[in-house]
Subunit: 440 residues, 2 copies
């Protein structure tokens, strides 16, 4: 995913960069709505060795405030624009309520892109271009269906003009999850009183730049685990599985064990040569059955078993992790068949996930329907008046042990809205269809 | 460099990994000599949001103590060995005395490899294998000559059995600098009373693993800057220069400016197509002379100028950053000539750096010779008794405003030592030749 993404943004002329881990409180606080969103969960370094620091240092929760003082120095003239940088780094956000591995962890690894443009049009276009890359990462690599849309005012990034996101859904728990975000920061951070990122435009007048920031994180891994995993363990889509095929020797009584192990090694060699990430489990102190369970738990998409009969028949036995289907593959065209199988597994993981996700989507038009659907762990699509106070009110009215309902996004793909349609929550005239639900 | 290194260690079956930024004080303190070396410069997180943490968290100064609790869980049996992981990450060491960008900065980026073996022989072999990769990075990528050797007991990594390093030298300041290190940790960390990393060996007996750790950091960039830079700015070796060629249009009075700019763009296109990292400086509000200085400061290895005369003669003018040499290149075989020139620049940067480094090496056999050479900023090669107390004494006797002298390394490449040779400092029988000097 990283290779794919880096290549794509390189073509967009985004430069690789690395900025520091620490930011002082004074700089962190420059953009007021931004710091209000992040300060409650900032980790502070206050000591080094045995000495107290003169100034406490925040560990970056995100790097807008770390990077933009440099943008302010580097950008002078419209010839310096657009400026586009991206870094892969760790950030820290101290979750007090519900830390959860990969989904909401106190440290996480991500890429964060930061760009500055002369015009809003350019910034707007990039927000969508990046969002499309995020969709590809989820749908084409992780086999997780997502919805593209815009966040509500209440849910947008602290300090942004607007936030676009892709939203996934976990049917088992009935919760939505924000997959990745692409923000237009407008001229909020670049304003003279904040980071003062100004340039002389083509008419030789001073203007503030238009900025975006966009990120996806190791949360992608958590979403993938939750969407595809089953009671046996992980289920990994072939495109992102570090091992795509595990080959397991199945010796049998008098059969020539060495011959079987050799055939396994040869199979791995053949597959690897064709670019397939394959390995053999050579451990002689575990039974084949033990190994099947072990590699199922690890989520390896395809298992190949080789026993004495297979040797005789010039075939191997293949077992799919996703649906357990078993088949014999002739060793003659093994590479082609394995490649085709891996493609099929990738495709059917997506199709199955999409089917399960779509089955959860429920259109509700009234408060009662909404509450009922929420109780049934649905992904709710409802007509909304788009008022911040109404979203706050919905949160208040649905709060409880399992968390309150909120907007996930207003999808770009809008169903038709008939004239006079009312908001499910306020009864006012609805402005748009939005997705609602509990979320991570 | 990263691509090169990652590919090499992948072939050694080192797995990519990511471990956390934080480590608790209790775990950090497990290996006593290790923590003694690092604790004085550890940065501590003590607050999150407005709350004090129950337990202060150290930001990793290096990750032995972060990773080895996992090794202890993962390694059970000799079949689990060798275990080899590598991560690219940031670490923090709070320098109080002399922080210096890239050379000794409070946060730096590096790779750290951590490996465990069943036998000392395997660990020993890997230490050298990795050291050779570090030599290649310095000599073949950064064009910086280095010396391979072993650190003294006083200078080895805190907690290691022994440390090997590559050492560079900065003639201008007369200081040595440790370029990268490859440590054999022996069974110090794996011991039962520390991290308890034990395995059942082939004879079904319990044994502690043999461990290595090895790292190179962004210090490489600092060393390159100091070794090659001149009064005009950076001088970048072509292999690591993000821009290898800068093309500058040189319009002249009545000459067809557009034609010149087009020729520049076409030249860049041709060079890029051949895999050369080339760019054109199209800015129309700077003179060519201004641009020459600008790109010299940035260290771009080769400048190409295109003016009206060049167009007429189907040639371009090339200027080397390293020695200022100018030449006309025919546009017919431009790619071949530019490639050849870049190779030559790479080679001659190394040769010139080696010549300057070698000119600083001084053999001293007595204390007086040693002190004189130190005053002349030499890289001193001296016969030594290899006693820790003697090194401490040398440090004590040479301390002053510019820092004390210490051992840099005992080179693998040992000059002949005649019987009866005495230590330059103690007068005892010498055991080896070692490099000494002031250092960063």
């Amino acid at each position: 995913m990283k290779e794919f993404f880096d290549k794509e943004i390189e073509e967009m002329e985004v430069e690789k960069c690395m900025f520091p881990l620490f930011v002082t409180s004074a700089v962190l606080q420059k953009e007021k709505s931004h710091v209000a969103g992040f300060e409650p969960e900032v980790a502070w370094v206050t000591k080094a060795g045995k000495s107290d620091l003169d100034v406490d240092l925040a560990i970056r929760p995100t790097s807008e405030t770390v990077i933009y003082p440099y943008f302010s120095k580097w950008i002078r003239n419209h010839h310096d624009l657009p400026m586009k940088v991206n870094q892969w780094c760790n950030v820290v956000r101290w979750e007090f309520s519900n830390p959860m591995p990969f989904i909401r962890s106190r440290e996480f690894y991500w890429q964060e892109g930061h760009t500055a443009f002369a015009t809003k049009e350019e910034a707007d276009a990039e927000v969508l271009e990046i969002l499309e890359l995020y969709r590809q990462i989820y749908e084409e690599f992780l086999a997780v269906p997502v919805i593209k849309g815009k966040k509500s005012e209440l849910e947008k990034f602290a300090g942004a003009l607007y936030t676009c996101s892709i939203e996934a859904f976990i049917p088992n728990t009935g919760r939505g999850i924000q997959g990745a975000t692409s923000h237009c920061l407008g001229q909020n951070f670049s304003a003279k009183e904040f980071f003062d990122i100004t340039f002389q435009n083509e008419k030789e007048k001073k203007d503030s730049v238009w900025q975006n920031s966009w990120a996806y994180s190791t949360r992608t891994i958590g979403v993938m685990v939750m969407v595809h995993g089953d009671d046996k363990g992980l289920v990994l889509p072939p495109k992102v599985a570090s091992q795509q095929v595990i080959v397991i020797p199945v010796p049998y009584r008098d059969a020539n064990t060495q011959e079987i192990f050799d055939a396994c090694a040869a199979t791995v060699k053949t597959l690897r040569k064709a670019g397939i990430r394959a390995n053999v489990d050579k451990r002689d102190y575990h039974t084949p059955g033990w190994k099947y369970s072990y590699w199922e738990m690890k989520g390896v998409p395809l298992r190949i078993e080789i026993g004495p009969k297979d040797l005789t028949n010039n075939q191997v036995r293949a077992v799919r992790r996703d649906n357990g289907a078993k088949m014999d593959l002739s060793t003659v065209s093994l590479v082609e068949q394995v490649k085709e199988l891996l493609d099929k597994i990738q495709e059917s993981l997506f199709d199955s996930a999409k089917q399960r996700r779509d089955a959860c989507i429920q259109i509700t038009r009234t408060w009662d329907e909404f509450v009922e659907a929420l109780g049934q762990k649905k992904l709710i699509l409802a007509p909304w008046c788009d008022e911040e106070e109404v979203e706050k009110d919905v949160k208040e009215r649905t709060k409880g042990d399992t968390g309150a309902a909120k907007t996930l996004c207003t999808p770009f793909d809008q169903p038709e809205m008939h004239e006079g349609t009312r908001c499910f929550a306020s009864g006012k005239l609805a402005k748009k269809w939005s997705y609602w639900g509990r979320s991570y």
